[in-house]
């Protein structure tokens, strides 16, 4: 079963063409590592796959519902003046996560944020915010996981946690991960897409 199918995918911002003529087939359970220099369209591709941008040309078919997509962006997509717990409670409710208290607690523990769960995100370091963003992305156990440079801002412990998470998800979920460090995900990736 194909999870993502793109044909001649194009995205322009005004006159600037960021993605052009991209063909992509990702089977369910596939793991695509997206690489390329800055400005090559990695983030644009992930936003297109998440449904946050619409293509300006070509075709794009995503075989999962919007609610089954987990999207990690450059920004954490959480309220800065709410705590980690409050943010995840809100997202858990919106995503209809079953037994969400337990799920939230488990993720906060796993990503080392349990002790800081009541602190406002504005007081978090960049690395802690990235860990919280990962919790938000994985909260609803998405079938399609889109991670835009997930290792950025993570310390060595955080990066190891993410390695383990990706290893657990690989094969079970469809993953598209953009990275400047392809070596890190190459052992798990079933396909490597180089843009630019």
């Amino acid at each position: 079963m194909t999870a993502i199918r793109a044909r001649a995918l194009e995205r322009r911002f005004g006159e600037k063409r960021v993605l052009a003529g991209l063909d992509l087939d990702v089977p369910a359970g596939g793991f695509v590592a997206v690489t390329g220099p800055n400005g090559s369209g990695k983030s644009t591709l992930l936003a297109l796959l998440a449904g946050l941008l619409t293509p300006t040309g070509g075709e794009l078919e995503i075989a999962v519902e919007r609610a089954e997509v987990g999207y990690l962006a450059h920004e954490p997509l959480v309220y800065r003046e709410l705590s980690a717990l409050e943010n995840l409670e809100l997202y858990g409710r919106l995503y209809r996560v079953p037994e969400r208290r337990e799920r939230i607690g488990m993720l906060l523990e796993r990503y080392g944020l349990w002790e800081a769960r009541h602190e406002r995100v504005s007081a978090y370091s960049r690395g802690m915010a990235q860990r919280l963003a990962l919790c938000r992305t994985l909260l609803h156990d998405p079938r399609l996981v889109l991670l835009d440079e997930p290792y950025s801002a993570l310390d060595a412990d955080g990066a190891r946690l993410l390695d383990a998470e990706l290893a657990a998800l690989a094969g079970e979920r469809t993953l598209v991960v953009s990275t400047h460090d392809p070596e890190r995900v190459r052992p798990l990736a079933t396909e490597e897409l180089t843009l630019g």
Binding site: A50, G51, L52, Y71, V78, L82, R120
Partner: protein, 213 residues
Amino acid sequence: MSGYLGDVAALARTSLLLELRSRDTVPAMVLFVVSALVVFRFSLPADASDLAALGLLWIAIVFTAILALTRAFVAEREGRVLDGLVLATADRSAIWLGKVVGVLAFLVLAELVALPAFALFFTPLGWETVAAVALANVGIAAVGTLLAAMAAASRARELLLPLLFLPLVIPIVVGGVGASVEPDPSRYLAFLGLYDLIFAILAWASFDYVVAE
């Protein structure tokens, strides 16, 4: 509470919680509306009629609402929270309705100070003016929240919002002033109710397209 209304309640609660923590919208609205009423008090000639003062009350309410609407999506713009909500909500109109509830609460809080202040500076308010203000709040929040979401995506958002909002609330001012000064306010109150109904349905139905990209 679960489902759609549960989403709305959670999002409205978030708006109120953020305001409770930052306290940067409601105090500004209260300060602005009281200041505006003081300015109006000294601008009007001593023998000016109460009807003129009632007209100025509506100007103060509309401009105070712009303050709330300008800040309505500030928290969602920071860190692209709106993208996260758009992905997470089963029905995106829940985001709009949650914000409407929040904006409505801010308007009511500001008016709890503004209306007694108006009565103190000018003339006591009748039930028809209070009813008109209540109905106007719904229309202002419904239309204004949609426009605030549109403006939030623009770089010129502070300019865009008043430019879009003011022409669309002219009917509210017409209905509000009419209900306040005419001997038979029922026609104008019905007009405000109809405005609320039509524009709330339009805004609710079109919000999905506004935040689609």
